[in-house]
């Protein structure tokens, strides 16, 4: 691990001021940053420890949603009774990820900012446009079993590794930011970005900005939802493909649909046109199959990950079936029904 300057921030203003230095990094739970520092992938000149900031609350918002402080741990969020009752899709997505130890340490803000687990990104001896812009992508013609099938570029085929973010994307969360130029909000879909020709940027945060909260708008997806995650092991592994599905069904027809995919792209993948198309349709197998075909129309494999296209198709269909039946995936017994 490189040597660095360490500052304990005692207020948001203090943190913003300390983060203005070049190569400064905020430290919350540290579960990804400390790991990246051990691999010499992250080499911050200054660590700004934000753990003392008052960002650990969950508050009701005036319009009936919840505002989640950036420092709430993934565990505390997943088991919070308000989340379990009103946003069970989010609770389920969180519990599908990582391990209890990691979820106890990892924070809400940090989850959004975790980096890809692309093997080459983690190995400083190999070219990687995300780690070292302009050096090339080793994955495109390399070991790419876990890599993107949607929205990739010829610069980068990495995927975003989060489960929680797939749930947040489906729920249209809003990211609250504080920076040198004041505060602003980003819609969740506008927070992460596709790699294009700047894969070094995972998201649209500006230099020196800090995530202070993630807001959940009021929503009514408590019956017909699921988070279905397919991975190489039953537990404690990143998704090959995951699907967050949420439906509102009335009189035998879909009134509203949300679908977000994890493990397939540089950001949680949503297709609003397909969600729009689902409106008014009967929730049956042919609808689900057509929906999956539409989402994956532009999908492209790079060799070893070709199987993920068919896997994604089947996972979308299965998730929609679970959601329509009101039978969310059990994250403990893992039997996919």
């Amino acid at each position: 691990m490189n040597r660095f300057e360490y500052i304990r921030a005692d207020s948001v203003a203090h943190a913003i001021q300390a983060l203005a230095a070049p190569d400064a990094q905020a430290l919350a739970g540290g579960t990804n940053l400390v790991d990246l520092m051990k691999y010499d992938v992250a080499k911050p000149a200054r660590i700004v420890d934000i753990n003392r900031l008052p960002l650990r609350g969950i508050e009701e918002t005036p319009n009936g949603g919840l505002k989640i402080g950036a420092l709430i741990s993934n565990s505390d969020l997943a088991w919070d009774p308000r989340i379990v009752r009103r946003y069970p899709l989010l609770a389920s997505a969180i519990l599908a990820g990582a391990s209890p130890q990691l979820r106890n340490a990892a924070t809400t803000g940090g989850n959004l900012l975790q980096r890809t687990r692309c093997y080459y990104f983690y190995d400083p001896s190999t070219p990687c446009n995300k780690r070292q812009p302009g050096s090339g992508c080793s994955a495109i013609d390399g070991v790419n079993r876990i890599h993107a099938i949607l929205g990739a570029s010829d610069q980068c085929i990495a995927v975003h590794p989060s489960d929680m973010c797939v749930g947040l994307a489906a729920l249209d969360a809003i990211v609250h930011l504080e920076g040198p130029d004041g505060s602003r909000n980003l819609r969740f879909g506008d927070f992460h970005r596709l790699p294009e020709d700047r894969p070094q940027h995972d998201n649209n945060m500006r230099p020196g900005e800090l995530i202070t909260a993630v807001e959940l708008p009021v929503s009514d997806f408590t019956e017909n939802y699921t988070y279905l995650k397919v991975r190489d092991r039953l537990s404690y592994a990143f998704a090959l493909v995951s699907v967050a599905a949420a439906l509102r069904i009335d009189a035998g027809a879909i009134v509203e649909a949300r679908l977000a995919l994890g493990g397939v792209a540089h950001k949680p993948w949503r297709s609003r046109s397909v969600e729009e198309w689902l409106r008014g349709k009967v929730p049956d197998e042919s609808t689900f199959a057509e929906c999956a075909e539409s989402i994956l129309r532009g999908a492209r494999g790079r060799g070893q990950n070709n199987f993920k296209i068919d896997l994604a198709r089947r996972t979308i269909i299965r998730a929609l079936r679970q959601a329509a039946a009101g039978m969310p995936q059990d994250q403990a017994d893992k039997v996919v029904r």
């Binding site: 691990m1 490189n2 040597r3 660095f4 300057e5 360490y6 500052i7 304990r8 430290l27 540290g30 579960t31 400390v34 790991d35 520092m37 051990k38 660590i47 420890d49 753990n51 741990s73 565990s75 088991w79 990582a98 391990s99 209890p100 130890q101 990691l102 106890n104 340490a105 537990s235 404690y236 994250q331 403990a332 017994d333 893992k334």
Partner: protein
């Protein structure tokens, strides 16, 4: 010169197994290395050092975490419990005799992490059956493959705990 680069490191007040300590620690030292290398608490094991194996599991303010992924200085004011601190007044934590009774280990290297993790699991109170115990112990790898006996030991203690609670009600 910034505080952190002064010789001797950053001030850190921390309670470990009930003992309050005022330390000065370099900011790049992990909680795991602080325990093992500087405080001679070698019960907490270093396995992968990357948050994947769970051998370094300790309780921070009662919650189980991977000590290898935590910068020690970020836990100023915290209470840490390691495997050395689980027994109280010479009496073992119920998980310790249960692990012996169920032969829940072979080489023993993962055991301190397994037991600390199981202690965290029990106090969290979210595991209602064996499938949930298995899932909620997924952050601890045992390369000898003692999983069945580990789950047995935890189930024993969880059941005893619920009996005790029912008797008290």
């Amino acid at each position: 010169m910034p505080e952190s680069l002064t010789p001797g490191g950053v001030p850190l007040n921390i309670t470990i197994n009930g003992v309050r300590r005022s330390l000065s620690v370099d900011p790049w030292v992990t909680l795991l290395d602080l325990l093992r290398e500087q405080l001679e608490l070698t019960g907490t094991k270093k396995g992968c050092d990357q948050g994947q194996c769970g051998a370094c599991t300790v309780l921070v303010d009662g919650k189980r975490v991977n000590a290898c992924l935590i910068l020690a200085v970020s836990k100023d004011g915290a209470e840490i419990t390691t495997i050395e601190g689980l027994a109280r007044g010479g009496e073992l934590h119920p998980l310790q005799p249960a692990f012996i009774e169920r032969d829940a280990f072979q080489c023993g290297y993962c055991t301190p992490g397994q037991i600390c993790s199981a202690a965290g699991l029990l106090s969290e109170g979210h595991a209602r059956n064996r499938a949930e115990i298995r899932e909620q112990m997924s952050g601890n790898i045992c390369r000898c493959g003692a999983y069945t006996n580990i789950a047995d030991a935890i189930e024993d203690v969880r059941r005893e705990g619920s009996v005790v609670r029912e008797a008290a009600e």
